[in-house]
Amino acid sequence: MTYKSIGKYIPFFGCMMTTKYPWFEAAVRKTAAKIGMELIDIDGFTCCPDPIYYQARDKMEWYTIAARNISLAEDLGYDLITTCSGCTATLSEVNLALKEDPGLKAKVNERLKKIGREFKGSINVRHAVTVIRDDFGFEQVTKTVTRPLEGLKVAVHYGCHLLKPSRVMRVDDPNHPTILENLLKAIGAEPIHHDKTMLCCGKACMSDAIPEQMIMDILETIKSREADCMGLICPTCFDQFDIRQIILGRKHKKKLDVPIIYYFQLLGLAQGLNTKDVGLQMHKVKADQIFEKVLA
C-alpha cells in the first residue's frame, strides 16, 4: 500500500464523542472542512478499545481489537485521525507496537485472519491537532478566522495522551510543549500556561481522593490566574473537569465556575459559528457568557 497524499483523512471519533458529546464531533467536522481537511467516513469501527479498562483486562485482546480498527483505514490508505486522547493513546500505541514487533504483529494477524483482516502497518494514527499543525500549519488556521477571540484567556490543559509516551506519540516536547498554545494564538486567543497545565485529569485512577484533589487543584489554579476558561482536546478530560466540577464544587462548597471548552469549539467560534452550532449551551458549567465579550 502506498502512502497517499496529505489532505484526506479517515476520522475516528470514538464512542464517547459520538454518543455523549456529539457537538464536539460537529465542531470538528465544521472547522476541519474550512482548514482544508477532507474527512472520509468509513463503516465498521468499534471501540478503539479504551486504554484504561480494556487495556487493564487483557492487552492481547486490546491490541487485536485496535489492530482491526486500524486495518479498516489501511484498506483505503489514508491516515487515521483521532479527536479523543483515549483513542489516540490506544490506536497510536498499538499501531507502533505492531510495526516495531513482527512477532506481536504475527500473533495479532493470526487472530484477525478469522475475520479475513490483516494489520499491515501502512498508515499513521494522528490526533487532529497534530494534523493541523503538520499538514496545514498555524497560518492556515488563522486564514480561516473571521472573528478572532481577542481578549479571551484560555488556560491550556494538554491531557496526557497527545504527548506521552513521547516514544510513541512523537508530537511535541512532552515537558515543554507548544502545539496547543500556538493553536490558540492562531485563533486570536491568549493561552495561559500555569503550573498545573501538564497535570493529568485523573480519569484512569481508581482512587476517589487522588483525582478529586488533582481536579480541585487545577481548577483553583486556573481561577487564580483569571483565565476565562480551560481549553482542552479530549472528551474524557472534559468529563472530568465539566460535570465533575459541579459535583466537587457542591461537595467542597466552592463556586469554581471554570468553563471547559474543547479546542474545536473555540476554533468554530473564531470561524464565525455561533455558540449553539458548537453546542456550548450543553455544558454543565455554563460557557456561553464568556463569549459575550468576544462575540459582541
Binding site: 464512542c15 486504554p51 493529568c200 453546542g279
Partner: protein, 165 residues
Amino acid sequence: MSSDKQAQTVKKHKLNFAFREKLGTFAEGFRHNYCYQCGACVADCPASNYSKEFNPRLIILKALLGFEDELIKPDSEIWSCTNCYTCSERCPQDVRPVDVIIALKNMCYSEGKAPELIGHISDTVLVTGVTTKITSLSERRRQELGLPPIKGYPVDEIKKIIEAD
C-alpha cells in the same frame, strides 16, 4: 515510604522469584527487570504527589521481589495509577512503569482479582462494540446537529478475534 518502613515491608515477605516468570507471560511483563530503583519515576507522578500510598518505584520493587499478595488484588495500589506515562518519560532504564503496572492489572483480571468495574466496562465492548453506548437521546442530538447516524458495531467480529488460539 521511609527506608525503615521499606526494610520492614521487605522483611515480612518471602521472596518469590517465580512471580517474575509468571508476570513475564503477560505483554510487557518483563520490563521491571531493567529497574535499578533510582526513583526518577516518583517525583512527577501525579498519583504520588496526591497520595503517600502510591509510589511507582515501590510497585516495581514489589514486582521484582514477587510480593504477589500485595500487587494482585482488587484493592492493590496499582489501580491508583493514572496511566499518564510521566514515569515512562523520566525512567533512564526504559522500564516503562505504566506498562509493567498494566501487565500486573492483566494478571489480576486473569485471576479474577481485578476491581469489578474493569470486567463490567470491558464486557460492554463485547456486548455493544463500544464503551459508551448509543442512547435515543444521543441519536436525537446527532440528528439536530446534522451528524450522520451511527450504523451499529460489528460485535460478532470482535468476539471472533479475541478468542485465544
